[in-house]
């Protein structure tokens, strides 16, 4: 009787669209808000994820998050190097500086620009913490050792140089950035020369990230007695970073954490001490509630309007179990459609806000294959369970697979590239579509439960009441 259920469902187009729209809205809002939340959280720890090569971050024990810099005395570097299991340890400066430059605005008028930047001072010898070669868009990391040299990230260049032809960026690609090589800035009354433009994860404050040498950072930064912000350490091969971290803490009294631990510590701080999770949580819950209200109400109305028809089916010998199957199948179909369209629209939203836009081609990642495989499996189970016919199985599988390919193409392509360079913090982390799916399933279950209850207690004798 599945075909009867499906024909009943799509037969009333207005209600069918209403239910799908309600679920789409809920899925869209939950995915979009969830992704923005994840994007923001990722930005809070952008510098931690960008710095690779070191196993441990060593810091003042009272540091709560990456921007909560508590400078240490230089001696701590040597003490850390002396801890057993530490292969090497290098200094890292992280602070705020003010960049000044004279440039032109969009109308070509000369203006003075003063912009706050995040200054990262890398170990002079090893350059540990520098962007990897594939993230250097133009220039050369080696040139960082030249006098007054800095490498700047591309995110906020438009703010520093508003008069450049930014519209041509997409057309010219990375070559666009060559025009900035050799340009001068002024930081703390010192000259800084751009020798490279790199890609970096946008920070929470969205300030440009400037890389320079550790020894030079103290000239660019406002005068401070101590400039050692963090120590980046590598453990000996075969020695557990967790064990070494503990040793560092015991022997030096400093704090030590792996990149992952420090990242989650930073995220944990923002979760606990800012209203961000509550605000986004409220929006996501609202999406869930509104979705439940729209989809649930429409679905219930749909059942109510078909009550006589369900009564007729019951009178003619359809069991409650078969009618429940019909309602669940209807809920499943609208749920899958609403979820697919909602997640797809959220992905498109993310892609539309990306700058520069990535193309929509995508790679067959395991997650995509898994998601589509899961859907086909659901249909297969329905087919095996004789809930749908072979024709419905084939059509539904093909249509939803294509729909999901488009949706995930945008989402995953975005995940690969987008988070680095967008104005909007949008990061569709894999649990977000999963949570959205759970929410949509819950909405469908709640909606269908109300309808099922109504139909189960329905007396078939209702059909004889005019």
């Amino acid at each position: 009787m599945s075909w009867i259920a499906l024909k009943m469902l799509v037969g009333d187009r207005a209600k069918f669209l209403g239910i799908v729209l309600g679920l789409t809205f809920a899925a869209l809002l939950i995915t979009q808000q969830g992704s923005i939340f994840c994007g923001l959280m990722l930005r809070t720890c952008g510098q931690i994820t960008d710095i690779t090569g070191a196993d441990l971050w060593v810091m003042d024990p009272n540091v709560r998050f990456i921007d909560d810099v508590k400078p240490m005395i230089e001696n701590n570097l040597y003490r850390v190097r002396g801890v057993e299991g530490v292969h090497w340890a290098v200094p890292l400066y992280k602070g705020q500086a003010r960049a000044k430059l004279n440039t032109v605005d969009r109308e070509g008028k000369r203006i003075n620009v003063i912009e706050q930047v995040i200054l990262l001072g890398l170990d002079d010898a090893s350059l540990v913490g520098a962007p990897p070669p594939d993230k250097i868009l133009v220039g050369d990391l080696g040139r960082l050792r030249k006098p007054d040299a800095i490498i700047i990230d591309n995110n906020r260049l438009a703010k520093l140089y508003p008069g450049e032809p930014w519209r041509t960026l997409e057309k010219e690609g990375n070559g666009f950035y060559t025009r900035f090589l050799g340009r001068e800035l002024e930081m703390n009354d010192h000259r800084a020369i751009i020798v490279g433009v790199c890609e970096a994860t946008r920070t929470f404050q969205s300030n440009p990230v400037v890389y320079t040498l550790y020894s030079r950072a103290k000239y660019f930064a406002p005068q401070e007695r101590k400039i050692l912000s963090y120590i980046l350490a590598k453990t000996e091969p075969g020695v557990s970073p967790a064990v070494v971290a503990k040793r560092i803490e015991q022997q030096t009294g400093l704090g030590a954490a792996s990149s992952d631990e420090f990242m989650w510590k930073t995220i944990g701080y923002y979760m606990k001490y800012t209203g961000i999770p509550i605000n986004f949580g409220i929006t996501a819950v609202l999406g869930f509630l509104v979705g439940t209200a729209i989809a649930g109400q429409t679905f219930y109305n749909f059942t109510l309007e078909n009550l006589k028809q369900f009564g007729a089916l019951k009178a003619m010998g359809a069991t409650n179990f078969r009618i429940i199957q019909m309602i669940l199948l209807q809920a499943l179909v609208v749920g899958l459609l609403g979820y697919g369209i909602g997640v797809g629209l959220a992905s498109m939203f993310g892609w539309a806000n990306q700058s520069p836009k990535s193309d929509l081609s995508f790679f067959l990642r395991t997650e995509v294959v898994g998601a589509i495989g899961g859907l086909v499996l659901v249909y297969l189970l329905l087919y095996v369970g004789r809930l749908i016919t072979r024709a419905v199985f084939v059509q539904a599988s093909v249509v939803t697979t294509l729909g999901y390919l488009v949706a995930f193409a945008a989402a995953y392509r975005y995940m690969l590239q987008g988070v680095k360079g967008t104005e909007l913090a949008f990061y569709c982390w894999w649990p977000v579509p999963l949570v959205t799916g759970v929410a949509v399933v819950l909405i469908c279950i709640l909606s269908s439960l109300v309808s099922i209850r109504r139909v189960v207690v329905l007396e078939p004798a209702i059909v004889f009441r005019g």
Binding site: G317, A461, G466
Partner: protein
């Protein structure tokens, strides 16, 4: 199609019809306290195979309640109901549902066709409930629709049909699975007089068979002459049962 459309000769009442439905002291009430209404007050009645039995009476006299009890879609408070030898009052819900699916055909006053399904799909529903595949059920339904003069409307949606045509589809749906008992609730109430007569003629031609009983609730006295037996109800009880001779039947000459 012979099974579905018996020849006219087969419509005549058998000389000694079997009892298809036996009703004894059946009572049914709705509501409670001051609001309580006794819909059936100890009804006794027999319905025979090969006959068209009518239940008539004023509004609110309990006709539809009695029909619902006979059809097994409403439980009586007390009394005994036997349909083709099976005691329906003692059946469990699941058994009763299966019994209905196999043995009873329904024609409703408001047709109750599913608006999203075509005429043939609507007519195929009892077969689908019985477990037939969609293709076979719809194909069989088309045959039955053809037999009742709806062969050119098999792919029409209910919204594209007139009231009389919809009732014909409903009759095809009621007969498609060869039920032993056909129950009809005011099948002519939503139709004009002429169409009502046509539908009643169709029911006599297509439904009445020696091994099938047909029970129709109606308050339309213009169609009384179609009945072989007429039970007059009032205030929850059958007051009088009238037998009619074959000569009175418009189709029996």
């Amino acid at each position: 199609m012979q099974d579905v459309m018996p020849e006219k000769a087969r419509l005549t009442k058998p000389s000694s019809p079997d009892v298809a439905v036996r009703i004894r002291k059946v009572t049914k009430h709705f509501g409670s306290g001051d609001q309580m209404v006794m819909a059936l007050r100890g009804v006794d009645w027999d319905v025979y195979t090969g006959q068209m039995s009518l239940i008539v009476g004023p509004s609110g006299c309990g006709k539809t309640t009695l029909l619902s009890v006979i059809a097994g879609i409403l439980d009586a408070d007390a009394g005994e109901l036997t349909v083709f030898g099976q005691e329906v009052t003692r059946m469990r819900d699941r058994t009763k549902t299966r019994f209905r699916a196999q043995n009873i055909g329904f024609v409703f006053q408001q047709y109750n066709l599913l608006p999203a399904l075509t005429a043939s799909e609507n007519a195929a529903i009892p077969l689908v409930i019985a477990g037939w595949s969609r293709g076979k059920a719809v194909s069989r339904a088309r045959e039955v629709l053809g037999m009742i003069g709806m062969g050119n409307k098999t792919e029409s949606l209910p919204s594209q049909l007139s009231g009389g045509q919809m009732q014909r589809v409903a009759i095809a749906r009621a007969l498609v699975h060869e039920p032993k008992l056909l129950v009809c609730d005011e099948p002519t109430a939503a139709l004009d007089h002429e169409m009502g007569l046509t539908v009643m003629e169709l029911l006599r031609e297509a439904a009445v068979r020696p091994d099938r009983a047909v029970v129709i609730v109606t308050h339309d006295n213009r169609v009384f002459h179609f009945g072989d037996r007429i039970a007059y109800m009032d205030d929850g009880a059958i007051r009088r049962v009238e037998e009619r001779s074959n000569d009175a039947q418009p189709n029996s000459h």
